[in-house]
């Protein structure tokens, strides 16, 4: 197998890691909305934490994406 083909396959496989972000972000915002229905007054107070959590989860997905780019273009 030549290097170009291996690079493409490797990049495709590395992108599977981004699936974790879907689960994580869905969990964060789902819990936020569910908590908002139970305690609407507390929702604005915790929104900062929601954004922080979202960014941290997104970061892990982007590590996977960076690996894919490194494999593809490195």
């Amino acid at each position: 197998m030549d290097v170009e083909a291996a690079k493409l396959i490797g990049a495709g496989l590395a992108t599977i890691g981004v699936a974790g972000a879907g689960v994580g972000i869905g969990t964060i915002f789902g819990e936020y909305v569910a908590g908002g229905f139970r305690n609407p007054a507390a929702a604005p107070k915790v929104f900062g934490n929601v954004l922080l959590g979202f960014a941290l989860v997104e970061a892990v997905a982007l590590y996977a994406l960076v690996m894919a780019f490194l494999i593809l273009f490195g």
Partner: protein, 244 residues
């Protein structure tokens, strides 16, 4: 036909002024020019907005005061009253990252924070300063940070290396998070721009998607700057108040 343009071409560093000091290449690059632009804009924004110092703020003064109060509140909430001395640092950091991210959104401009070396320089400086701060304030007791209170002793040999590794990965995660977000966003914009050209008349669909993507990228620019500042505050808080 036209040459193959890679979507990663926008991140290329071009030398604007060639300079060499003792064999070391210290050229003034497009990255340096953007950093100068960022610093000039931040300084002008804060200085000129507060020029009139009115009791009832006008629009510009309101924007400057809002950004000040936003970071001041974040520092207060995470570090407490001792955070006051770190506020200038966190505010400068936040404004630099924010303006760098947003200025990169201008078409044909350069995103300073999309390069891992820039974000790694910022993150490693923060990491080293915060660790030094912890050692200066608590001496060798700072190492008790890696053994959370109330942990049974037989778990310690397992827990301390894990805590140590997760602490040492902080500069890596801090830098890669910012750089990867900027890199991925701008690369997607370039890829979809390629689709617009390739599809001809049907290029309207990717074009509309690019408009939506620009909205997302603006949100990500603000969010990543905020997350960078908040995590810095959390790390400072960890050093000052040694509990988890």
């Amino acid at each position: 036909m036209a040459a193959e343009h890679s979507p990663l071409e926008q991140f290329a560093i071009t030398r604007l002024v060639e300079l060499k000091v003792g064999g070391v290449d210290v050229s003034f690059t497009n990255s340096s020019a953007m950093m100068v632009a960022v610093i000039v804009l931040v300084t002008l924004f804060m200085a000129l907005s507060m020029r009139h110092n009115a009791m009832v703020p006008g629009r510009w003064q309101l924007a400057a005061e809002l950004s000040y109060e936003f970071i001041a509140k974040t520092v207060r909430d995470t570090i407490g009253t001792e955070g006051k001395r770190f506020f200038p640092f966190v505010f400068t950091l936040f404004m630099f990252v924010l303006f760098s991210n947003v200025l990169g959104l201008i078409p044909h401009s350069f995103t300073v924070t999309s390069h891992i070396i820039v974000t790694f320089a910022l993150a490693s400086f923060i990491f080293l300063s915060v660790t030094l701060l912890g050692f200066m304030r608590h001496g060798l007791k700072f190492l008790t940070f890696f053994l959370p209170p109330g942990v049974p002793m037989f778990l310690a040999p397992l827990l301390v290396p894990i805590e140590l590794i997760s602490y040492l990965s902080r500069p890596v995660s801090l830098s890669v998070r910012l750089a990867a977000n900027m890199l991925a966003g701008h690369t997607m914009l370039a890829v979809f721009a390629g689709f617009v050209v390739a599809l001809g008349l049907f290029g309207v669909a990717p074009f509309i998607f690019i408009i939506l993507l620009y909205g997302l990228e603006t949100l990500v620019a603000f969010l990543q700057a905020y997350v960078f500042a908040v995590l810095t505050c959390i790390y400072i808080n960890d050093s000052i108040h040694l509990h988890h």
